[in-house]
């Protein structure tokens, strides 16, 4: 008997309706004026049902079966994937926040984030296909030439076709600029470029879910400079198509291998050969040498999407663990260990198990809040662009600052939480009959793709902290400190003070690294990029824990009753302050240590 998959939609609603008051604030924006709380509630209900009834049933089978490849380069996905895809497409879930006239469902991004998170918790391998398809659709919608923009956008957003993103090559992973794929203008066909090269690690590089696939490929045109600046973006269809979308000849993009992996086995991770056995025709998206700029445009969204995957894992880990712990009977209550006759108790009664569950619970809840908040701010920024451009700009800058923190911190934590779930289960956690070992394997990749977490930390330190001489960071500190003051007035004085001390340490760490950089000790500073990001991450989540507790306290007063969800938020804050926030301070100490030992040339020769 395994542990059933369960979605805690009440917690989703707590963040959305109570904490962010998203329904009220979104209704002030013309794009979402028609949507109200009932609509969102209905949406969340269907999200839960989709996750539990359609997606989770293919989770385990996809893990066990994996994908297979035939000699023609056709991938077969696991049993049930095709049906799940069709139901996603039918229900309009593939591009939930894309505009309706483009084939999307017109929901706010905050709702798309709920879909992303809850569906990923149900089956993260499957979600790679719609996730990348929607991302490709957004690129095409924004930058593709008129000739095929509307057609391909529609095909992708409705799930008739699927899409991929092809950046990585064997020699160009973190360093995208080392891309070697070549694009040569066709001598016979106007506007066509012929691609030659090989892309690796391409998620969904082929599949049997749809009739056609479009790959968005970075490649270099003749005479273009080395590095990222010389890259252009191309659209490569699996089958050529005409203006009506009728399919033509097979194009020369072919999967030659699929990787055998640690996890997300249902997602085909492909080596894609371009122009190897037949010419690979492609069409320019955007302008020549604009490729990396276009990719950057989509990067925030992709990274916050991966942060959302981390939230998914943490929440699934918590939900599985808390159910198992309530049922697994082992040992007696601590106070009665000497009594041989004492009743055997479920492990949820043991203090150490409760500590683990509490960790899982607060990480699941605070990462969820932080990530939804960013997605929601994106909606606000979008909606305020015309009327209040300054406000919109500030929101966007805040996102720029926080996204590397969230991408890295949520996905580091997700793997830790998956591992902690295994610990809660004990031996059975290690056994395939239960779902948590798969969570460990499936979640690891989150810290690697979409820019490794090391690269995120470098982005934070090297770019985001330096924008306007650190103004984004200073603004975040000031806004947060104002919030802490408010919390102090509401009876959260000691907790606010603890968070304020962590912010002080975070600020001191930033100063310290700034000075190192000023003294040209760049390598010593970057040695502390990850520790700095962790300091930031643990502090940032503390602010969410505080905000949740404040909201819960008000709700308890208002309703005159202590609902378990609200009590968990208040207890969660104290737990966070005492168990997790000290890690922010500890990491800050590392940052400011001045340690250079890893850079000693003699240690790794």
């Amino acid at each position: 008997m395994s542990t059933p998959f369960r979605v805690d939609i009440d917690d989703v609603e707590f963040v959305f309706f109570e904490q962010l008051r998203a329904h009220e604030r979104l209704s002030a924006l013309p794009a979402f004026a028609e949507l109200d709380r009932d609509t969102y509630t209905a949406t969340f209900r269907e999200i839960k049902r989709m996750a539990e009834e359609v997606l989770h049933p293919v989770d385990r089978i996809g893990d066990r079966q994996g994908c297979s490849l035939d000699d023609e380069g056709n991938v077969t996905t696991p049993e049930g994937y095709k049906d799940a895809w069709d139901r996603m497409a039918e229900g309009g879930w593939i591009a939930s926040s894309a505009p309706v006239d483009q084939g999307g469902s017109g929901m706010p991004r905050a709702v798309a984030m709920v879909c992303n998170e809850v569906f990923t918790a149900a089956c993260c391998a499957f979600m790679m296909y719609p996730g990348l398809t929607a991302a490709a659709g957004r690129m095409v919608a924004a930058f593709a030439p008129d000739a095929f923009r509307d057609l391909v956008t529609q095909k992708l957003f409705t799930g008739e076709w699927s899409g991929t993103m092809c950046l990585t090559e064997a020699g160009a992973g973190s360093s995208v600029g080392d891309n070697r794929c070549k694009a040569t203008p066709s001598e016979t066909e106007d506007g066509v470029f012929l691609l030659e090269g090989e892309k690796v690690f391409i998620s969904g590089g082929d599949n049997d879910l749809v009739e056609n696939i479009v790959h968005l490929v970075l490649a270099r045109t003749p005479g273009a400079p080395e590095g990222t600046k010389g890259l252009s973006l191309f659209l490569v269809p699996k089958y050529e198509f005409d203006a009506e979308g009728n399919l033509g000849a097979r194009n020369g993009a072919k999967v030659t291998t699929i990787e055998h992996k640690l996890g997300i086995n249902g997602s085909a991770t492909c080596v894609l050969a371009l122009g190897a056995d037949r010419p690979c025709k492609s069409w320019l998206v955007g302008k020549e040498r604009q490729g990396i700029e276009l990719m950057f445009n989509m990067m925030n969204e992709a990274r916050i999407g991966v942060a959302g995957q981390g939230v998914a894992t943490a929440n699934a880990a918590y939900q599985y663990s808390v159910q198992y712990a309530a049922e697994r009977v082992q040992g007696t209550a601590l106070m009665r260990t000497r009594d041989g006759e004492a009743r055997r108790v479920p492990i949820i009664e043991h203090p150490d198990v409760r500590r683990m569950l509490m960790t899982l619970q607060v990480v699941a809840a605070t990462t969820r809040a932080a990530v939804y908040r960013v997605a929601f701010n994106e909606d606000l920024a979008h909606g305020l662009e015309q009327t209040e451009p300054k406000k919109a700009e500030k929101l966007r800058q805040r996102m720029d600052l926080l996204i590397p923190v969230l991408k890295a911190h949520c996905t580091d934590l997700s793997f830790e939480m998956a591992s902690m779930a295994v610990q809660v289960y004990g031996g059975y956690g290690f056994i395939k009959e239960y779902p948590v070992e798969q969570l460990v394997r499936d979640s690891k990749v989150q810290s690697i793709y979409e820019g490794t977490n090391g690269i995120q930390a470098m982005d934070l330190l090297g770019r985001k902290m330096r924008i306007n001489s650190g103004a984004l960071f200073m603004e975040w500190m000031a806004d947060t400190q104002r919030e802490l003051q408010e919390a102090g007035k509401e009876g959260f004085g000691s907790q606010a003070a603890a968070i304020n001390r962590a912010i002080g340490q975070l600020g001191a760490s930033a100063m310290h690294l700034g000075q190192l950089a000023g003294n040209r000790k760049i390598d010593v500073a970057f040695l502390q990029a990850v520790p700095f990001l962790k300091t930031f991450g643990y502090t940032l989540l503390a602010v969410e824990a505080l905000d949740q507790a404040r909201v819960a306290k008000k709700l308890i007063a208002q309703h005159g009753e202590e609902r378990p969800l609200w009590v968990r938020k208040i207890a969660g804050l104290d737990f966070y302050i005492n168990h997790l926030l000290p890690q922010a301070v500890a990491w800050a100490k590392t940052v400011q240590s001045g340690d250079e030992s890893p850079l000693d040339e003699r240690v790794f020769t």
């Binding site: 009932d38 209905a42 929901m107």
Partner: protein, 272 residues
Amino acid sequence: MKILVTVKRIPDPDESLKFAGNAIDTSSSKWVANAFDEYAVETALRMAEHIGNKDRLAEVIVCSVCPKDKRQHVTQFLAMGADRGVIVDADETAMDSQTVAKLVAEVFRREGCDLLVSGKLSQDSEGNEVAQRAAGLLDLPQASFAATLRWDRGANALTVGREVDDGVETKTIPLPAVVSVDLRIVLPHSVKNGATADDHKYSDGARLASLRGITMAKRKKVDVHTPAALGVTPSSHVAVAGVTAPEKRAAGQIVDSAQTLVNKLITEAKVL
């Protein structure tokens, strides 16, 4: 053809019960749609749609007696595909089922409906009364506990497989009529309308709403009436005498042999 479907909100049956004095305390309950009403709406939608064709064979109207600002369940059914809604604005928790049936019957009459579809019962009170009472008030033929349903449009009649204690009773009733549905009505082949291919396989259970359906739901028309406007004065033939929680189950006993068990069943439990 107009199909009226009754839909009710109930306190979430998955939540544990709370008591306040002599009554169930629903003040902090999460309200959800009654599951049997989901089956009823699914039934009506399967009757109305012609799979593979855009035409609809019937208009599906969902009707709920509830406070007009507590209509989440109505929104949900509009999202699922019902065409429009009618709300009778009242605190239904204070009404007996005869009043609810009168309100439903009156809406049915005013809308000029041809068919009333109800869930066989609501999961909170498990009354299993409204459809039958409405049929009586409207003086229409009825088939309760439907597990299968075939609409013969030529004959303007329904053939209904009813789940009864000793099997399935099949009966044919002319329209207009009243039907209450049971769980099995949402199996893949339970409902046939003579237009959608007979071998069409629906997915098991009530359908999921599409995201598009959800966003469209708010644009659908919902009329709100008061009981007074419908000419119905709430009756109160039923009074709640009291509500108590069932006794906690006593701890089990572990016996050392089958013989002891048999003895105890004979002498203590007196069941053998």
